[in-house]
């Protein structure tokens, strides 16, 4: 019985410690841009989520594909139904790690390299991309822009519209994290 009490005490003690390590972002902004000779395609969403553990440097992103908003709703329809197949693959997910040894518990702006696996359209691919993490007064912001080759994720573009859609899409992500309270 004593040890049970000890355990409960330990659990209580350890959770606030843990909470200070993990930061989360409930409305992470994602946008992408594809430029081609015929048309520019642009979409954005605020419905992404993200978390970062400043001690282990693990970083995580997840975004519902169907939440991307296009100006042209017909494009949005094609994006969901024909290209990204959001019925079958509802989320894009990234699990990675910050490679640098910056101390993210201290205020400052850090240029970092993140490596991890992006699952998009059901296809896993390892990415190693540069980003910026800013720590200021208990809040963390992170931002990055990187390129995705749509062919790498088995996204088929039919030949009749191949001129309208670029082979490489620039993805931008911005997240504002707050500490996870448990």
């Amino acid at each position: 019985m004593k040890s049970l009490i000890c355990l409960l005490f330990l659990a209580l003690l350890s959770s606030p410690l843990l909470a200070q390590d993990i930061f989360s972002s409930k409305n992470t902004h994602f946008s992408f841009f594809s430029s081609s000779p015929l048309e520019d395609i642009e979409a954005k969403t605020e419905k992404g989520v993200s978390a970062i553990n400043i001690k282990t440097k693990a970083i995580y992103f997840k975004v519902p594909i169907a939440s991307f908003q296009f100006r042209q709703k017909l494009m949005q329809e094609h994006f969901n139904q024909n290209y990204l197949e959001s019925d079958k693959y509802p989320y894009a997910e990234f699990k990675g790690k910050v490679l640098d040894d910056a101390d993210l518990s201290k205020d400052g702006t850090y240029q970092v390299t993140v490596e991890g696996i992006l699952n998009l359209h059901g296809v896993d691919k390892t990415y190693k991309e540069k980003g910026t993490i800013t720590v200021k007064g208990g809040n963390i912001t992170a931002g990055a822009t990187f390129n995705i080759r749509i062919a790498d994720h088995r996204i088929d573009i039919p030949t009749i519209v191949v001129k309208n859609i670029a082979e490489v899409v620039a993805v931008t992500v911005n997240a504002l994290y707050t500490v996870v309270n448990r």
């Binding site: 040890s3 355990l7 843990l18 169907a66 042209q72 709703k73 017909l74 959001s86 009749i160």
Partner: protein
Amino acid sequence: MKIIVSLMLLAGISFYAQAQDDLSKLFDSTGVRHPKVLYTYKGTRIIMGHSTETLRKHELDFRVDHRFGDMAGEFGGVKTFYGMDNSTDIRIGLEYGITDRLMVGLGRSKGSGAQRQLVDVLAKYRLLEQTQDDHMPVSVSLLGTTVISCMTSEADPHQAAYFKDAADRMSYVAQAIVSRKFGILSLTLSPTFVHRNRVGYMDMNNLFAMGVGGRLKLSKRVGLIAEYYYPFRSNDSKDYYKKSTSLYNPLAVGVEIETGGHVFHINFTNATAIQETQFIPETTSSWLQGQYRWGFNISRRFTLFGKKDWKK
């Protein structure tokens, strides 16, 4: 006791270990609460009647619906090139999404019932949307249409197209459209009320009908579509029409093809008319007598406005 404690301890450790490395666990309970089922149909129509889909805000749909003449039977065959030399009805329409849920439309059709030269005004409101977790099991849209005949009045006061005053030219449709998407299959029930101010002898001014329709997706861009309407006629009216002109229930089957910006329907139907006020109560041609025709619906959607707002 010791075993329980050590088990709990182990569980505790493994939970923390997981929480530290796999941050995805943080979001298990969050995310979109009741994600909507999207794109039950590709367009605002199934074939003859409406689907639950509406245009989204700032979308303009230019539509051309066309029905040819009889493919076989007395008026078909090679002498009319299987109906292609004739057209029973053509509608050209512009429809627009005012909000993501409300669309309006204006159309001009030839008409293929007693009254011709029709102008229609319609409004469709998306009331409910099916969700993936069955929090809302179906999608429901409401449709209201007013049709005005612009033809010259017949001289004979017994005709359905004899207009004493402007009100005689008007017909109305009120419809609830209920859809559910099961993966590649979408099914629809459409309870419909048709009111025509002016009808022929023994015809009904007020008529209830039930529409059933569906789509089976064959690939990302191609689907099979079918639609049928059953009008509930009074026995008196039925008996009268048995003696004179025969009435049939409209049945349509077709293929839906999406080609980038267009949605294209190729369909076969016994209905000659395009307007609900006509194909539901006034279909006088029969599949069994070769009086079916091929037709097409073309929908081209454009996005207006919002370019500047979007850039911000």
